[in-house]
Structure formats: C-alpha cells, structure tokens
Symmetry: none
Subunit: 261 residues, 2 copies
Amino acid sequence: MFEARIKQGAVLKKVLDSVKDLVTDANFEADPVEGFKLQAMDSSHVSLVSLKLHADGFEHYRCDRALTMGMNLANMAKMLKCAGNDDAITMKADDAGDTVTFMFESPDQQKISDFELKLMDIDSEHLGIPETDYDVTLRMPSVEFQRICRDLASIGDTVGISVTKDGVKFSTTGDIGEANITVRQNSEDDKDKMIAIELGAPVSLTFALRYLNSFTKATPLCDQVIVRLSPNLPVVVQYAVTEVGYVSYFLAPKIEDDDAM
Amino acid sequence: MFEARIKQGAVLKKVLDSVKDLVTDANFEADPVEGFKLQAMDSSHVSLVSLKLHADGFEHYRCDRALTMGMNLANMAKMLKCAGNDDAITMKADDAGDTVTFMFESPDQQKISDFELKLMDIDSEHLGIPETDYDVTLRMPSVEFQRICRDLASIGDTVGISVTKDGVKFSTTGDIGEANITVRQNSEDDKDKMIAIELGAPVSLTFALRYLNSFTKATPLCDQVIVRLSPNLPVVVQYAVTEVGYVSYFLAPKIEDDDAM
DNA sequence: CCTAAGAACA
DNA sequence: TGTTCTTAGG
C-alpha cells in the first residue's frame, strides 16, 4: 500500500510539466524511507532526469514496501491537469495493483475527484548518476537562465559556458552570427535575483541547447536554479521543489569543447 | 416590421457565441407575443438547441406579425462581434425583406453602426421538444460544470451522470484509465457557488461529452447552470439569459447506460 | 485563480 | 491554417 498526500497540488502539476516533455514513459519508485522518485533518460537517450520528493515533504506519506510504478507521463500529466491549483492531491496504489489513483480534493471539500491511471511495464535501465564534487556551482534566477538558453538557441545549437570567479559567459555561434551573454556575480539583497558562483577552478564546457531548453521547463518550480560544472562531467541543472525535494537534469558536455574563454 | 432593441448588446453577443458552434444555419422567429426565438438541431442532428428572448426582455420590441428569418449564424456572429460590449443593439427587418439589420449605438451615441445581413431560406424541420417533469433538477456553478465536462473529455468520450440526494457523480472511462468527479450539495450563502439538487428519484444516465462541451459555450451567459434529468429522456442543460430569457440544450442519453451508481 | 482572446509559431 | 503559448481581464 502506497499513499501520499500533498496539500499544494499545483506543485505536483508543475513537477510533471517539468519532466513530461523530456521523458515519455518512466518508472516512479515509491520507497518507504526515501520517498517518491523517478530517474529516467530522455527519449533520445542523451540526457537524464532525476526527480525526488522526500517522504516528509508530503502532508501524509505511507509506503509499506518499495513500489515501482511505470507510467506514461503524458497521460499522468493529463490527469493532473484536472486538479485545481488549490486542490490537495493524494496518490494511491496497491502493492499488487496495476493502477495508480490520483485523488483531488478542493479546499472546501465540495468537489472530490479520483482518476485512475493504468500502470505499464517499463524496462528500467539502471542509470549511473555520478556522485562528485563539482568545480563550479552556479546559482542564478531560474527565469534568467531560461531566457539565456532560449535566446541563444535562436542563434546557435550549442552553448559554451565559461565560468570564472567574476562571472559566467554563455556563448554560441550560428549561421547568422554569434552571441555572448555574460552575467556577473552579485551580492543582491533580493535572494530571488541573486547570482552566486562557488568556484574551485575555472571551467569552460559546451552543451547542446536543445536539452538545456527542455530542462528549463522546470522554471515555474522555483526562483533559483543551481548549475554544477566540472570538466568532462555532465552538467547538473537542479531546481528545488519547495520544501519537498528537487528535479535535477544531467547532460554530458560536447567533446569538441575548446578550453578558451 | 420587426424591431427590437437591447441595451446590453454584450448579452446578444454571448447568446450567439453559445449557439454558433453547434448550429450553422437556422431560422429565427420573431413573434408579436412570444418574442425572439430559435430552435434548431446541431449540424450532426444529434442535439437540439432552443433559445428564447422574451419580448419584454427588450428595451423596445415591435413585431407587427410573425416573421421567420433564416440566418447563417457564423455570419451573424461575425457582425455582432463588431458591436462594442457596451453598445445597444437594435435588430430590424421588414416583413417582406430579405435582409436583417443590426444597429449598434455606443453609450455616448458617438458611434453608430449598422450592419445588414442577407437572409437565407432554410427548411425548418419541426422539432419536438418534450414538455415533462424531470426526476432531477440540478443547479450548479456554470464554470464548474464546464470544467468537469472539459476535464472528463480529456480522459473519455462519454460521461455517466449519477445523482443521489447527497451529490452528483460524473464518471468516464478511456484508454488511459478512468475518472470520477463528485460534487456535493451545499447550502452556500454565496448564490453563485450554490449546488442544489431537487430529487424525485435517483437517476443515472450517460451522455456524449462532445455535445456537452459544446453546450458549455454558453457559460459566459450566467453563473449558474440548470441540468434536468429523467431516465430515457434527453438531458436539458439550461442557461438563463439574465432578465431576458434562456438558452436550453437537449441531448438524448446513450442507451448502453448501466443503472448502477 | 481561471478564462478567453490575441499573437506567434509550426 | 491550425495549434499553442502567452497575456490581459474577470
């Protein structure tokens, strides 16, 4: 028996919106201790998404034993769209069942819905997510990161990210020309606008913008995004799910990276 | 000679928006006593719409003798869109003419427009609208009814509506799973949010969501919708046109209904 | 917060 | 031309 209730249903809706464009089918894992999580590669097997919602992030969480639930994320998202933004959402599944139920309760309890989604068998490839210290940890407003990735994608296909202690330079080149966007570290009072760089060593790497732009679907989740970089390692783009967990994306750098900033 | 003036032109615009998606061409009837009305089947001949605007709902109403005016509703809507929402609208037609004129007057009389629409000959099939007492009369916020029909249509094609004295359950089934939405009767102070059930006997019927979703195009007309149900009879979905009349829709139930709630 | 209308994209 | 996304309004 698995049952988890989140009061702010809008959070779960946003979480799903942030993964459904990247991954079509995936196994969710409900774990008695670790909570509710998902790890999957995108459909083209290039990038990787890791989602974790801690057990104690839920208003109520019960999971008798670990459960793997294979879902079509588009269909799951379709159902969650039927929840009002103020509704509480409860997910339920029997240990031996082949469905998961989403229950929506309006704040005044006047309207109660339950949506039952058929589960599917999905081969779960095991995914090696590197546990490392990164040379660079960058924090910046998630909307700003989204804007940069979107803007550069209109010029070129890849982005070079070069970080020094002063700032970050995002660069691209395309048929029509080239573009560089530099943002500086600040010590903003306003935490939402903060740009902070933790730097072990300067780093310069190149990534496919197409995937980064998919990652920014998670922008509505939180005000700040965290980007971690190390040479020859996948970049980590991480969004906090307020009070509940996080969504992280991983993308290997292009090898033909030039080290110059 | 027919001439009818309505001060709140926006009402007439909304009325037309609520029928034009369902019916392409139809005969309006102007009657000296009964007012301005329309009865028509939708283009696929499955559902039926009945619109009535009472003579005394108009600021001014003159109709020397009954007049049938065949109009293309899309074209009529196109013209009415040209009226400002605060404009007064006057409809005029000669007894022997083949056009109808819509005159729009801005509140300050600064702008006066008249649009002349060509009438067309339309075979008027006679429509039998059942005059009955219904087992169930359900009143609920029109936006909530709209939301339920839209949400369920993303899962399945038909909706089962089961009414007991406590509440109403809307259910559907589709390829990806199933869904149930239950709303409870309340005694809300706020009349707009009222959900009221008048129940002779419990009823359970099934309808095609496609048509119900067309009906909900009338949602902007008023805050509350009235749904009347009886076994083996078409459902009536009725929207009041404030102070002026109503728009009613009729749709026969699916026969393969199971009676269980 | 939710809807509807407009604008931009495919 | 149809669909989607964004924005403005209720």
